[in-house]
């Protein structure tokens, strides 16, 4: 083993962001020609570590060895020169540039553009045949799907002759079928002798494709093991530091009357793209309807319409009465007044105002509530503060200080503030989007329990999540969305990931069964 130098060796890497220690004295070795997984919870420091390797951040301390050579990586230029390529979780593409221009950017041959573009066009063609990475070089990025965009990112790295490829949560935006295809490509790259580092929080991916795996927790490296020597339960325990429930505990649902009845909902956006195409479904009191699907297939728009900040045509009945889809009473305030609460998909840009204190956020969206008013004119800030204190206590928000700005809480605690605010409104219908995105496992368990508890009180819940595991674990009924349509409905105990995956990829109901 010690004959070959590791492709990458990191020694004693530390990095702090202000008061937060993201990486603590981390060491890791990755052998050439292997696929190495790095697994850990949100905020464990995986992405930070890899961003340091790619020169995106500068480490406070530590050394990097590439193929046995000590290498300084002050910026991405140096990383690229050392043969490292990285596909970030959020793609780093220029949206209104063509594929070709994106590939060439930063790797031009000379001061003039045309020769570089011509050369890249040729090169792309040969890479495409070599690795099954077919992309139209003249397509504009914003016109192609996320799967294609990911290919462009991989092509960018290969065009720069990367020997080491880092992928950060690459499957988050892919259907299961697309993910399988990606893994095939990664397998090909490995055969060619390239080294691949895969960052993920999905245990299944680690087990399926990696040779070795490193587990990180709270900025520290817990262990590096051979994948064949471990199992999912073991990895999960190492990730969290204690035994975890991989399944949500709940009793069977007892659905009652229909609370939400959506009929033939359609949205066409500013660019004339049909975002929702005749969506119809029902949610009953006392059940959780989970909407599965790869992000960008109309789920967000659906939540936005129901939440009152996107216009649509069609019909929505709440407890049998129609709600306005246009006009003065179609806004979020009216929805809240009708008993619709909403935990939005993006808590940092929608659910919370990061610069507001926790107590101010407690009233957000409900600031017209009579209990927060002192008289007709002024708000009762003291009442809001008191309310916030109680809610933070009940939901175990840490630190339990309502005077702190929302941005100073961790992702899990931020989400708890949002969930507390929405659930404690005692709504008839709760809309929940990506409730556990960027949330640590402890908070995930707690939030899931709260959602189930609300269901057991006889409330209707519409859950949207791109995490298939979460959908399978939480829902009483599952609807799958693809390209603005509902492809089919399933019961969680009568289906499996494969079947749902096919529906998510656009197979018709009959074909998938």
């Amino acid at each position: 083993m010690s004959d070959i130098a590791p492709a990458i060796e990191l020694v004693g890497i530390s990095k702090a962001f202000g008061p937060v220690q993201a990486n603590k004295d981390i060491s890791i070795r990755v052998m050439p020609g292997t696929i190495h997984g790095i697994i850990g919870e949100n905020g464990a420091g995986k992405s930070t570590l890899m961003s340091i390797l790619y020169g995106f951040y500068k480490a406070d301390a530590g050394e990097v060895f590439i193929s046995g050579q000590k290498t300084e990586i002050p910026d991405s230029q140096a990383a690229i020169a050392a043969g490292i390529g990285m596909v970030f979780q959020h793609f780093k593409l220029v949206k209104n540039f063509s594929v070709l221009e994106n590939v060439v950017l930063g790797a031009e041959d000379g001061a003039l553009l045309r020769p570089s573009l011509a050369k890249a066009r040729k090169q792309l063609k040969s890479l495409a045949t070599e690795y099954e990475l077919n992309v139209d070089p003249d397509a504009i990025i914003e016109d192609i799907g996320v799967g294609m965009q990911q290919r462009v990112e991989i092509l960018k790295a290969l065009y720069r002759q990367a020997d080491i490829l880092i992928l950060d949560e690459p499957t988050g935006v892919l259907t299961p079928a697309e993910a399988d295809q990606l893994f095939r490509i990664l397998g090909r790259l490995k055969e060619e002798g390239k080294t691949i580092i895969l960052i993920t929080h999905k245990l299944r991916e680690i087990m399926d494709i990696t040779d070795t795996v490193s587990v990180m927790r709270r900025g520290e490296m817990m262990a590096t093991v051979k994948t064949s020597d471990t199992n999912p339960a073991d990895l999960a325990e190492r990730m969290v530091g204690r035994k975890v429930l991989l399944r949500v505990d709940k009793v069977p649902a007892q659905p009652k009357d229909v609370v939400l009845d959506v009929r033939d909902l359609n949205i066409t956006d500013d660019k004339g793209v049909h975002r929702l195409k005749g969506v119809s479904f029902q949610v009953r009191a006392g059940e959780i309807l989970g909407i599965a699907g790869v992000s960008g297939n109309g789920q967000s728009e659906l939540l936005e319409v129901l939440g009152g900040y996107e216009k649509a045509t069609g019909e929505i009945l709440l407890n049998g009465d129609p709600i306005d889809l246009t006009g003065a009473y179609s806004d979020g305030q009216s929805r809240r007044a009708r008993g619709i609460a909403h935990v939005p998909e993006d808590r940092q840009h929608e659910g919370l105002i990061m610069d507001f204190t926790a107590w101010e956020n407690t009233a957000f969206g409900y600031h017209h509530d009579p209990k927060y008013q002192r008289n007709g004119l002024l708000m009762d800030n003291a009442a809001i503060l008191k309310d916030a204190q109680e809610k933070m206590g009940r939901f175990d928000v840490r630190p339990p200080n309502p005077l702190l700005a929302a941005k100073n809480f961790s992702g899990g605690n931020q989400q708890k503030i949002v969930v507390a605010r929405e659930i404690e409104r005692d709504p008839d219908l709760l809309l929940v989007g990506q409730p556990t995105r960027g949330v640590d496992i402890g908070a995930i368990e707690f939030i899931h329990q709260q959602i189930v508890a609300l269901r057991d009180q006889g409330k209707a819940i519409l859950l949207v999540s791109v995490e298939l595991e979460e959908i399978m674990g939480l829902s009483d009924r599952i609807a799958v969305m693809f390209d603005g349509q509902i492809m089919g409905e399933r019961l969680p105990d009568q289906t499996n990931e494969k079947e749902l995956g096919l529906l998510m990829a656009g197979m018709k109901d009959g074909e998938a069964a």
Partner: protein, 386 residues
Amino acid sequence: MDFFTFVQLGDASVRMAIPLLLACLAGLFSERAGIFDIGLEGKMLAAAFLSAAVSFASGNVWLGLLAGIGISVLLSVIHGLASITFKGNQLISGVAINFFAAGLTVVIAQGWFAQGGRTPSLPNDARFNGLDFPGALTRFRDKMQASPGMQFYSEFVSGHSILVYLGLLTVPLSWWILYRTRFGLRLRAVGEAPEAVDTAGISVVRLRFAAVAICGILCGIAGAYLSTAVQAGFTKDMTANRGFIALAALIFAKWRPWHALGACLLFSLFFAIDIQFPRLELRVVWIMVLLIGSGVAMTAYALRKDKIDVIVLGGLSLVLALVALLAWRGEMSDEIGAIAALFETVRVPSQLIQSLPYLFVVIVLAGFVGKAIPPRAGGQPYVKER
């Protein structure tokens, strides 16, 4: 109006368009790189002052130009420090630079020349003078009597200062840099997605500073042109809001060089009108058609929209109608009656003519030209995501 009047109007438009155009292209480079620059005005003003001052002191207008460019680039670098290095608010930084230039030019001019905050008049050899092309007529009387082709050649084509021709050349040059060079590709990329540029191994900071520096150079030339070619010296606030109008032209042009040329020529036409026709007279009936017509159009638009549109645009229409009626009423008298008053001519108030360019800017910004999408990362400092 004869042909020569039109040629003169065109000639004045081009002359007035040059500082606008240079400032507009300056803004284009800066905004394409993601740095909004509301301080074009201040940079031009500072350059106008310093180039006049140095030209006067040295007698060499090229030295003056260089000094103007120098001060403008310096202010650009300050803007860059605030908005790139320290990730400050770009609007506020730009506003500060405008005030800084507006105040400092007068203070220093007074300190150096003691002529009430202006520079002394530049002698002819310390200015950029018109270049007379071979065979072009130079005397006004000769031109009046010449053939239309000769009038066009002598008045419109020939006789501008070298900066005019240079200014026009910057349009194809900017286009070429932007779309045909590596630097241009990177510049456009950094205004759209700085994170893409950063992860491609290119310094966002260096690129943006380069863009801001180009912006400074172009503003410097624009300012020098105003005080050493159009005028013979610096006067207080001589840029007269051109920096802001250039920004409006940039939006109108949707951040594209050739379109910027068109937009600037159009805007400068309104300045030229003010210069060529300071006393504009119109028949009452045309005023009524224009004002009431646009009022009706706005109201019709508003009625298809929301309550708020009806209130604002309806109110504005009423004001316009009122103005039209007042113009009519003012001409009525016992002798001619109401109908004949419609065909009387009224002098358009000079304040209104002077306001025309500004009014036109507002109308353009109101979006009667379609949606303009600025560079995506514009106005935002680049902070690496966590």
